[in-house]
Amino acid sequence: MSVRDDIADQLGVDLEGFDPIRVVLYGTLVGLVAFYLSPLESGLMTALKTEAEFATSPPFVPPTADGFTLEPFSVAIDTLASAILNSIMLAVPATILSALLGSFAAYGLTNFEWRGQLGVVTLFIAGIFIPYQAVLIPLSRLWAIVNTKELLAPILDITLFSVQVPVLGTVELATHPHYASIINLIITHAAYGIPITTLLFRSYYKKLSTEMLEAARLDGASAFTVYRRIVLPLSTPMFAVTLIYQFTQIWNDLLFALVIIPSGSGPAAVATIALNELTGGIIQTFNTQMAGAFVAALPTLLVYILFGDKFAKGVAGEA
């Protein structure tokens, strides 16, 4: 321990803070924080200003008492509410489905050993890197040919988003003339999510102890029992990572929604489409646009703030 540290210890202060190199380091880090947050900060400030206020004050300055308003947010919420509901109904099932299928595939391809396995794995992983433009036209053809609404009619006699509640009878949560396109979108997102979820789960299952799985199998447990009793319970942390990553991806998508949801179908629009329409209009002012951006981004922002570390793991492809 140096004399300097010794003194610092006795005084109860941390002299590290006075190191000029550290000062430059922290200065840079804080400057970068300003850079990364400036679009969000000035967007938020603008969203809280009246039109007169944002025309006269710099964008990143907070509104004055006179210029403060929540009007842009209430307009944005009114315009986007139904689209956000659609996005939830899309993103939640599609996320769960692709995570489950990825977990199945990863188990079948990692914890078993057979010839040709690596070829199948390669096909899965290559699927991550497909430019979606290469499948857009077939997708639009496919969903023009397959009539989901009619196909589901015999088993799903709904206005999809109604539920049977004892005593109350049928409760319509939202009648939805275009519900079929949401289902098409769920299937599409689930299918294209499989490669990345398989990769994430596989990196995790590779680390599971082979002896343990082997022992269970030799005790006569079926492949399914091993999955349900051992692999699935151990997968919880990886499910958290995968669900968070996939939810963000699906919520944020615009391209598939543009192609699969019939154009101009207001009621079936998802959040990204509705936001694009809200901000693309000529009459909309910047404060409403910014408020709209925050409203549409709110679910992913919340997920990120609450589970940022898990999102980072998904991003890095880590277990």
Partner: protein, 350 residues
């Protein structure tokens, strides 16, 4: 595998272990029994695992590889307008590809795609590496800094495009207001419409007379959104380097810069490659951001293959032509990804 395990395997298989146990002349048959037991186990492994991987494989295979094949077939047809495609193999031709080669728009979009691909990937990697090194310097509140730098990556392109359109606004956007505020008025520009004259340089083919800011404004905004991603990948790489290598370099008296250049950077090759592949593939399909900023026609200086493909197919209803452009895009992506996957395969990383 323990002897007990073997016995149980053989017992279940019924092909060995009968009678009095392994006498010397029985060893050969026992060995045969083991081999057949192991190989039948192997065979049944494929069967036993199929219920798990086959259904996802079929679903994914249909949507990914089936759709790519379908797209290739459509690119051979004359599918356009509101009529349905006719899949008549005798009428298949390469007309759409010839059309692309003689289409000036296609070459401009290809040029812009490569400009975006190279500069966006390079800058994001450099920015991400810089961030990772800063964050890895044993700083306080590391989690906070990391979280903020990665934040833009969690947002939708629709959201970030809306923000950046506002940032670049000529009159009241943050960038120009900031530049005017610090007395650099002359730098304030129409970022999404302006440009600088290139003069003599424009004699080079495909180099325009005026270098429009548009594409670079897009690249800068995407850099803001993606450098956090590269940082996360590099941080994982940095954390995998054992501490004693830093110590050793320090004991040798190497300066910090020298330590990074000689000891640390060479070990980040794998991180660089995997981040670069993801960034390049993203650059190829970057669509959402451009679409929200400029609509389906970003103009000759910012149009890339993915926006051109969408416009030809879904706005002009030139479906077969759109398919052909999509095939080109797919082949470029394949050229990026195939060597990477092959390398991973060779190193047993798949």
């Amino acid at each position: 595998m323990s002897l007990n395990t073997l016995k149980r395997l053989l017992g279940r298989d019924g092909s060995g272990g009968s009678g009095t146990g392994p006498l010397p002349d029985d060893i050969a048959s026992l060995r045969g029994g083991i081999q057949s037991a192991v190989s039948s186990l192997r065979e049944s492994e494929a069967v036993r695992s199929a219920p798990f991987w086959l259904p996802p494989f079929l679903l994914m295979g249909f949507f990914v590889y089936g759709a790519i094949g379908w797209n290739v077939i459509i690119s051979f047809t004359d599918f356009a307008g509101l009529q349905l495609p006719t899949y008549d193999p005798t009428a298949f031709d390469l007309e759409m590809y010839r059309r692309a080669l003689s289409d000036g728009q296609f070459w401009l979009a290809t040029r812009n795609t490569f400009v975006l691909l190279v500069s966006f990937t390079g800058l994001s990697l450099a920015g991400g590496l810089g961030l990772a090194i800063l964050v890895d310097r044993g700083i306080r509140f590391e989690n906070w800094f990391r979280t903020i730098y990665l934040l833009p990556f969690s947002l939708s392109f629709v959201v970030t495009a809306v923000f950046w359109r506002w940032m670049y606004n000529f009159d009241s956007g943050v960038i120009n207001v900031f530049l005017r505020g610090i007395g650099l008025d002359f730098l304030a520009s129409k970022w999404l419409a302006g440009g600088v004259e290139l003069g003599a340089l424009s004699a080079i083919p495909l180099v325009p007379e005026t270098l429009q800011f548009k594409l670079f404004a897009v690249i800068f905004a995407l850099l803001w959104q993606f450098s956090g991603y590269a940082m996360v990948v590099y941080l994982a790489g940095l954390r995998a380097i054992p501490d004693d290598q830093y110590e050793a370099a320090r004991v040798d008296g190497a300066s910090t810069v020298r330590m990074y250049r000689r000891v640390i950077l060479p070990q980040l090759r794998a991180s660089t490659v995997s981040a670069a592949v993801v960034l390049m593939v993203f650059a190829l399909k970057a669509f959402d951001f451009l679409y929200v900023m400029f609509g389906n026609n970003p103009g000759p200086t910012a149009d890339i293959l993915s926006t051109m493909m969408y416009r030809q197919a879904f706005a002009a209803n030139e479906w077969a032509y759109g398919s052909a452009i999509a095939v080109v895009l797919f082949l470029v992506a394949l050229a990026v990804v195939a060597p990477y996957l092959y390398g991973e395969y060779r190193r047993g990383e798949l």
